[in-house]
Amino acid sequence: MTPPPDSSGGTRIPQVTYHGAPSLAEPVFEVGSLSVFYGAHEAVRDVNMTIGRRQITAMIGPSGCGKSTMIRCFNRMNDLIPGARVVGKIRYHNEDLYGRDVDPIEVRRRIGMVFQKPNPFPKSIYDNIAYGPRVGGFKGNLDDLVEETLTHAALWDEVKDKLKTSALALSGGQQQRLCIARTIAVKPEVILMDEPCSALDPIATMKIEDLMEQLAQEFTIIVVTHNMQQAARVSDRTAFFTADVDDKGERHGRLVEYDETERIFSNPSNQRTEDYISGRFG
């Protein structure tokens, strides 16, 4: 997918700013002219972007700019919201994610999600990890899978002696890492994270960031964050979203700039990105 030319100037749709050749890994998602509607309201307008394999892509931007709406398109979680409608294309390995014969259940087994607030099931730690494989019809040895997964998520040493106790007894940070572990237990290719650290303290946040960097060796990660330092620390590429307010006072999110994280934070090419990064707005 070739990025659109840099400056077409004076067009109806605000252009996304691209730098020359994006250093993009093999694409996992290709998003083309994507808009999301809630009823008649266009919450996200005309997004074009490509997500690279085994990279961490961060989505930043002020509140109400459509980042969360956007990330929920990738595993069809927006299907659950009555009245939500997706227009445009998301290609996942060249297959249309919103194609007629695509089963959202299958989509979500390949594209996992971690939510803003840790939401472990009110079950044991073991059962939290085992839930995904169980509903997916896993036939192997669950005990091994649970141990392997928890080790993978750097949680095994902390919980190995209390696998049968309730997950709700864990601290907030541990709960969130359990939720990440639960997600990788079904062996997805992509992990979506919607502000995974916004409910956590700095130490717990640091642990999650370390985990993200480690997981990026095997998984493709897309993370929505309000924390710009976090985006700068962990991500390979950063997408900056903002909201345009139309004459009726409605907010439409759009992608302003998408580039290597280093570029975005050191030398953004769009004024609005620079204002946001430097804290002058948002």
């Binding site: 659950l80 979500r108 087994r109 996992g112 839930y131 509903v135 709700l168």
Partner: protein, 303 residues
């Protein structure tokens, strides 16, 4: 920020010392609290009075004969209420059997599948709320016309329990829906995001989390059904039966009907018998409600 305060202080000289001492509770608030207590007292005093009255009245007859003997029209001093107690148990057990699965499935449909934007779902919803307020005697007429005569089930345990099922079904549905609604959306999302189907999400996450609430609401609904006499009188629950039900096709009586029958007798021995039967009914009700409270406290979830 503080400049306003400083300016005022400058204008009046020194700022006034803050007044921290209370002025006592104002009369109006005391009056309000008093009326709250008074309202509560009315309820409690009458309840205690009623309980004391039936216990004292029924005391001479509160012995094992009340459940070991059958009603006897000739010799009230030796009569019991076994057929009515057994009838109550039979009728309520079958009521639970019919209305719990139906009510829970209906509530799952309404909460998890029904699209509230469709008019028919809204009509169903309004109807259920209205049905919960329909007087029980109306259900009696319905049961008599449709179940007893229309379907030809006659004056049997089956007719009674089907009618009572209809009576408590709206309450069961409303209670179950509330229990389902109390399960946080984040649990549904977590389950679906792991690739679970909607059915798996309901069966493995929502129902286990909602069962305590459903059980509590359902037990309270059933304890309403236990005290019902009016619809069953219409259905021909017999007031004088000296045998226990042997199946759903049996004729039956239940405690409220038996009590009604004894109360309307003129001899004082029957009044004592009625009071004793009321105590038995209250004990059954209290036991069911205690179970409901225990379930709620023991299995309630903290998210």
């Amino acid at each position: 920020m503080g400049s306003d305060v400083l300016d005022k202080g400058a204008a009046t000289g020194m700022p006034e010392a803050p007044r921290l001492k209370g002025r006592g509770t104002p009369l109006r608030e005391r009056f309000f609290q008093l009326s709250l207590w008074a309202s509560l007292a009315v309820g409690v005093v009458f309840l205690v009075w009623l309980l004391a009255y039936v216990v004292i009245e029924g005391w001479p007859r509160l012995d094992s004969r009340i459940w070991s003997n059958f009603p006897d029209i000739i010799d009230p001093t030796n009569a019991g209420a076994q057929s009515a107690i057994m009838g109550t148990i039979w009728v309520i057990a079958f009521t639970a059997l019919y209305c719990l699965p139906t009510g829970i499935l209906a509530s799952i449909y309404l909460e998890e599948y029904a699209d509230p934007n469709r008019w028919w779902n809204r009509v169903i919803e309004i109807n259920i709320q209205n049905l919960a307020a329909v007087p029980s005697i109306v259900y009696g007429i319905l049961g008599l016309g449709i179940i007893s005569r229309g379907l030809g089930f006659g004056q049997t345990v089956l007719t009674a329990s089907l009618t009572l099922s209809l009576l408590v079904l709206p309450t069961v549905i409303i209670a179950s829906r509330e229990a389902i609604r109390a399960v946080p959306q984040s649990i549904r999302e977590a389950s679906l995001a792991l690739g679970a189907t909607q059915w798996q999400t309901i069966w493995r996450q929502i129902l286990p989390a909602a069962v305590p609430g459903m059980a509590t609401g359902s037990i309270l609904a059933l304890s309403r059904a236990i005290g019902e006499a009016a619809p069953l009188l219409l259905l021909g629950g017999l007031t004088f039966i000296t045998f226990n039900p042997t199946g759903v096709e049996s004729p039956f009586t239940v405690l409220p009907i038996q009590i009604f029958n004894w109360i309307s007798q003129s001899r004082a021995e029957f009044t004592a018998l009625a009071s004793a039967a009321i105590v038995v009914l209250l004990v059954i009700l209290l036991a069911m409600n205690s179970l409901a409270i225990w379930l709620r406290n023991h299995y309630s979830h903290r998210w």
